[in-house]
Symmetry: C2
Subunit: 600 residues, 2 copies
Amino acid sequence: MPQFKAPTRDLKFVLHDVLKVSDLYQTLPDFQEATPDIIDAVLDQAAKFCEDVLAPLNESGDKEGCTWTEQGVKTPAGFADAYAQYVEGGWPSLAAEVRYGGQGMPNVLGLCMSELTGTANWAWSMYPGLSHGAIKTLEEHGSDAQKDQYLTRLVSGEWTGTMCLTEPHCGTDLGLLRTKAVLNADGSYSLHGTKIFISAGEHDMAENIVHIVIARIEGAPAGTKGISLFVVPKILVNSDGSLADKNAVHCASIESKMGIKASATCVLNFDGAKGYLIGPENRGLNCMFTFMNAARIGTAVQGLCHAELAYQGAFAYARERLAMRSLTGPKNPEGPADPILVHPDVRRMLLTQRAIAEGSRAFIYFLAMQGDILRSGDAEAAKNADNLMALLTPIAKAFITELGFEAANHGVQVLGGHGYIREWGMEQIVRDARIAMLYEGTTGVQAMDLIGRKVLGSGGKLLTDFTAHIDQFCSQSHPESVADYVRQVAHYKDEWLGLSFAIGEKAMTDPDEAGAAAVDYLMYSGYVVLAYFWAQMASVAAAALADPSRSADYDFLNAKLMTAEFYFKRLLPRAQGHRLAIEGGALPLMQMPEALFAVA
Amino acid sequence: MPQFKAPTRDLKFVLHDVLKVSDLYQTLPDFQEATPDIIDAVLDQAAKFCEDVLAPLNESGDKEGCTWTEQGVKTPAGFADAYAQYVEGGWPSLAAEVRYGGQGMPNVLGLCMSELTGTANWAWSMYPGLSHGAIKTLEEHGSDAQKDQYLTRLVSGEWTGTMCLTEPHCGTDLGLLRTKAVLNADGSYSLHGTKIFISAGEHDMAENIVHIVIARIEGAPAGTKGISLFVVPKILVNSDGSLADKNAVHCASIESKMGIKASATCVLNFDGAKGYLIGPENRGLNCMFTFMNAARIGTAVQGLCHAELAYQGAFAYARERLAMRSLTGPKNPEGPADPILVHPDVRRMLLTQRAIAEGSRAFIYFLAMQGDILRSGDAEAAKNADNLMALLTPIAKAFITELGFEAANHGVQVLGGHGYIREWGMEQIVRDARIAMLYEGTTGVQAMDLIGRKVLGSGGKLLTDFTAHIDQFCSQSHPESVADYVRQVAHYKDEWLGLSFAIGEKAMTDPDEAGAAAVDYLMYSGYVVLAYFWAQMASVAAAALADPSRSADYDFLNAKLMTAEFYFKRLLPRAQGHRLAIEGGALPLMQMPEALFAVA
């Protein structure tokens, strides 16, 4: 298993040098405490916890997995104890509202913690991770009584939360859901139905679990307009917050999965379980949107995490393993062969991982920062931030998880046959990373959200709002060494707009043209967005290299510039393959009748 | 687990319509019995065995895996019995030489059986698969006495074989190997050393295992020029072929792997094991080349197998699973939603799998046919076939396994969250497929073989020999409906030559330019080669569609043409992304010093 070292140096570069988050936080009344010093201190503490407590449980957690019994689900050895330390350290409350016991730190900092815990041990990080969704939902849509009853304990981490959406016959198409809610005399509801794929649905880490459940109230309209949202605790909670009887929620089984084996994925049966309506009747799906955006950004982080971890493992191997000689003559003449790091293709894989991890990091934290701006008093700034998030979230979720999976596979590939053997730890990263393209909306679902709802659905406005940011960046002055990157970003920005317009035009006569373009369009967009962030990082790094007071950083800054060069020269060109595939149109996908698919 | 149906219809199309193998076999004295009727009868029998006997053991084999004990390795329930039926049916001897009990059928037909067994159950197929390597090596390089002693039992399947190359510190770089051979007074050698990653190195399917081992004779030169080849039976064999004592070969453990769990991957200790030299001293690596080419084609088949199996599983799901409505209006208005097959992106994934499977099938059987031509009496034809194999084998091995892995992942993706759950069987395909890009030379190793040894090493001759075939195809007359494909193939052929020349020119001043281009160049080449085979298939299909006597085939032929259209419009454009990445050059890969890789 690769030895995890928290990449705090790069996190600090993104937060302070690229995004200058503290400048923003000085203008936001909620976050004035988030000074650079505080941020750095939190990162250093987080790094220590993740390296020392979580990382050592990553491989053993995969090996042991979770165990189901009639009495409940047992998590792997050490998991519950690590969770207790996490609660003890006050980590669950880092970015939660002060009113319910939170520390009120910015969203960005909460996400930093998610990145570090996730890289150290993704499966473990899902238990606290799911609580964030429940907290956000209650913060935004819960009644005051519900907040009092549930939020403090969720924020402290004493209880954890879940999001119960999927049913056996429906995941993406929630309009088909069947779980039924029947109104009781006391104003509560009795829920009946089965939910599947419920992460952290049952475990031994916390004394209670707060399920946020979507269901259909008896008599509600069919489809998505008849969906309501409920809070359904595993153990019922008295109005004073103390625990009452067990509720009629039962974990019937846990799934045997490809990866994230230490994360319990539960089948939950609601057999007349008591639930309490959150928000208005039949508006459950709208209430979920808040949560779903956050969850999608949280899943984008997984791509970043696995790219980072796979890089660390692959580099450690590549500098030690000896095989063949460099094509330009021995680099380790005293040894029997050269370290494989000398070989161009090994470097290609490592730099691909690195360009993915570092580029995604800047992209994701920019997105998370928009979440903080939402809470500024300025309505226009908030609207702008909301629009940016609407456009960029599906790109971040799908593009970064696709590239994170690629990076995980490069990790295996650098190790050759050893990469396929469990004890080396690299194949686990591939298995763990694979789910990120599936849950919280598959890549295909994100792609339809992007092209259909966001780009075409806004008449292009969300896109041009964002490209205005790119225009502004390109019109600024930049160090000469990054001029070519800035030029490329400007060029791609124009091409992106043209491509979007062309798809929109074709889709007016045939909506399948949008669907046929969707995933290639999302991937194309992802490469352009990442180019924009790489150009920003390169510009900042090049400027800092001219500053003698930054001399201690020169190695770091040079590495950043070299990775940028790699991105523009070797990865960005992939966008052209996607563009040309889009231009191939819908006909080659749509013309085959179902019957002919069966012929072989 | 997807229900496997042998794609015999498509195999017959490739063999009879595209490659017209029987026309060739009529001209080859060894293979005159391989008439279309015989070939079809063999395929139908093979299909039955693979569907009925092997496919049902694929999921259970993964679940159970192999078990190591001091006494040996136990394969999963049913595996040994299936192997007994395979031997009973005479399958091991299908394409082996008549002289040692083989049925003397062409290489192509042997590979058909490999495809069908491999798609039904890849892990199982590795046990007989490894025997082929041992058989080929002994056929080509063994002494008459060795052939008499080992070949008949290997050909009958009573015994199985292995290839023992890798050691803990070396895989690709065999010059580093340490296993030592000490000459005994009786002319035999005593072997000392440890071999790892030995597939089928120990099991309970056959009474003896014939290991082909590379080792260094005491006093031999260092590096690859001091490597010799040995036959080392698990149980010693008397000169009359009867079994004697157990040899000093010991399976120390088996690996816990990401996939192909039912295939025993063994650590073998040779503790003074008796071995017998094959071929001349210190020429072991040359003797291995015969085997390694065959093994690489055999591994290319794995990409095809997993693309096919993943397609079958994904299509079965996509036609049943209901979610959302078609963008162009309900296609299943009576149901609550449409089958997901209506969605363009689901079709994109299915057609990608299909284009990979069917295109690779034509490519691989063309390559296997060259192996049969080698045995024709015509020296020029044999030389031409040998050159084609030299160029195309690394492309087939790396490109098809990379695309097979992609196809396997589409299989998971079509199923959404269910794809990640073991019981659906799709994630197993991903795990099983992942090793194909690693063993028998990684993608990077194949890519260096292609650009360095084959293309540049031959001064471009191997490439232009092949493009002359493409020229000939393009200059023939073709149905109007495929004119655009032929035009594209001709265009890409020119671009390929230009790209190869440009890399060669840059590599003259900096050899790292070849290494930096290698994998993108191999992938580019793969897309061009597949385009050539897709154009051939489309041309044949379009011609047959004009033939009323083929009317029973019209559905099949139309599906073929539609898949060709998909390939040219939606997959071939990826080649441009690779071309542009190559043009990014070596500098972005090579400039970062090792120390800077460690900075983060």
